[in-house]
Symmetry: C2
Subunit: 325 residues, 2 copies
């Protein structure tokens, strides 16, 4: 392998900026993680760009290669084909940012490509993970919200403006809770990490999740999603029941997407996928009951992402090396 096959990918999230340098085989040669700066959250997007550049600098210093590797950036939300973030419910301070142009000014000797984070994750899963060899597939990333990417003919389906795959903002209950996107009852209010927190606090307020509530000091409002997944791993039946409820909502959206797209396989990534079988087993069971014409369908495989949470950054590097689809 040559230096020319190296690429850097950076996955920008609401809480952390995670970057990797990958070699020609997609192996991670080096990784760096920085906290998304707090001042960014109060309205200074320039700080975010500096954090991204810092991650790129760290990786470049650790693994000096010539020519300087291309850089791919994954961001949550609507990213247009010019690399501008047009809309981002979970990164609103960065809306309108021309990531591509701004980064190119500093990284003038490199190519810079910006892409939706879930599309990046799907690229990595297609090449090295659970979407290998899948012609008709789907990827959902369960984090603060839900990201999505559609696979048709073994390639990303991007839509007219590159905005396809915003599956988290399917409305599944028009009178449901408000969503940061401005809508109501979006799927991600129920089946994401944020959704788990909400379901958990509702359960706690209703007198369930007794052991978890005790562990966090007695206030149901202090219960977070990870408290539930931790308790479920230890066999807490009330926590398992909340994960089963989350699985039902996950299955509902996947059943909707299956009616529309008829995928053979759906890959679940993002932080919440770490719950593994505790989430996917009840989701599979509910899916078979919820999907239209279930008994007439050949079955849809629901599996965890092969690259776990690294998929977004690895995929961003692949996009940098091979271009957007």
């Amino acid at each position: 392998m040559t230096d020319g096959e190296m690429a850097i990918g950076v996955d920008i999230g609401g809480t952390k900026v995670f970057g990797v340098m990958v070699d020609g085989a997609g192996e991670i040669v080096s990784a760096a993680k920085l906290t998304t700066p707090r001042s960014f959250r109060t309205g200074d997007p320039q700080v975010l760009l500096e954090t991204v550049l810092e991650v790129v600098d760290v990786l470049s210093a650790r693994v000096p290669v010539q020519p300087a590797p291309p850089v791919g950036i994954g961001v949550p939300g609507l990213v247009d084909r010019a690399g501008r973030l047009r809309f981002s419910p979970h990164l609103p301070e960065a809306e309108g940012l021309e990531f591509g142009n701004l980064l190119l000014r500093t990284l003038a000797n490199r190519s810079v490509v910006v892409e939706n984070d879930a599309n990046c994750a799907a690229r990595a899963e297609l090449e090295f993970g659970s979407l290998q060899g899948v012609a008709d597939g789907l990827m959902v990333t369960l984090g603060t919200g839900i990201g999505g990417a559609l696979i048709s003919g073994g390639r990303l389906l991007t839509g007219a403006s590159g905005f396809a795959g915003e599956v988290g903002h399917m409305v599944v209950d028009p009178s449901g809770p408000p969503c940061p996107c401005g809508g109501r009852g979006c799927w991600e209010r129920y089946a994401s990490g944020g959704g788990l927190g909400r379901l958990a606090r509702e359960a706690a307020a209703a007198g369930r999740l007794t052991a978890v509530v005790e562990d966090v000091g007695g206030d149901p409002e202090n219960v977070h999603g990870e408290d539930v997944t931790n308790a479920a791993r230890s066999g807490d039946s009330e926590a398992l029941a909340v994960l089963a409820e989350l699985g039902w909502w996950l299955a509902l959206g996947l059943a909707n997407l299956t009616a529309v797209l008829d995928p053979r396989r759906c890959v679940v990534g993002g932080g919440l996928a770490e719950a593994g079988a505790l989430l996917l087993d009840p989701a599979r069971k509910a899916f078979d009951e919820l999907v239209e014409g279930g008994r007439a369908r050949p079955g849809m495989e629901l599996v965890a992402a092969g690259l776990g949470e690294r998929a977004g950054a690895v995929g961003a590097a692949l996009v940098a090396r091979d271009g957007r689809q």
Copy 2:
């Protein structure tokens, strides 16, 4: 044009079987419509096949061409690639029917192709109607239920098993009314011809639609969707309000599909599309408010089908001539 470019298309609906013979330019040379036999509705699918054959015979006798033109059949529901109807909420008596094989036995000298009815309609709209030149698009047919077809790269997107496009069975309210598919709160319970009937009877029972209720004899349960569209055409403000409500639900599902697929244009066909601007104007307005990141998107064109209700039969003929995609 030669006889060899002629093709027959038959669109099977719950109430009528409509067939056309089209020439090489897609023009309808002859058309025939028969009522879907009542005995079929009580469990004798053979009668349905005979009705289809009768339509084919009538068209063939009127326009005798050699060699015998190929025959395409459009049916509502999940049609597999072998031409078998695997699942059909609105034609349950015909489930499991191997249309393709059964018709081939009688039409032994012709090729016979069976395809989902909305996919047929989209094929016709792509070639001669409102989807011409559209790379990323969507077709929805509003009849008893809602059919759908997805366009990507100017071609039908069919999914892993040929079942893609069952957009009517996206759940938009898990506690909504039961659907013939076995689910609850499917989009078609709100935004189809059947959905209009339900919205209308609810409005009538709540004391609205006073003139319409009077016209049908005073019983709110006797109000049908077409009573509302007729009254709306005459300017009845209460009927217009019900169509606006229907338009809101239509927009909700289209907003979901736009989040997922990012189409440039959506074509609305089926019987309900005859309501035209009375339905599409309020739907456009609601869509702009409902779709995620509306102000960041370049706009999605919502237009009526160019071929109206004939699209399904014409498209079935095109599928017969050119094959499934």
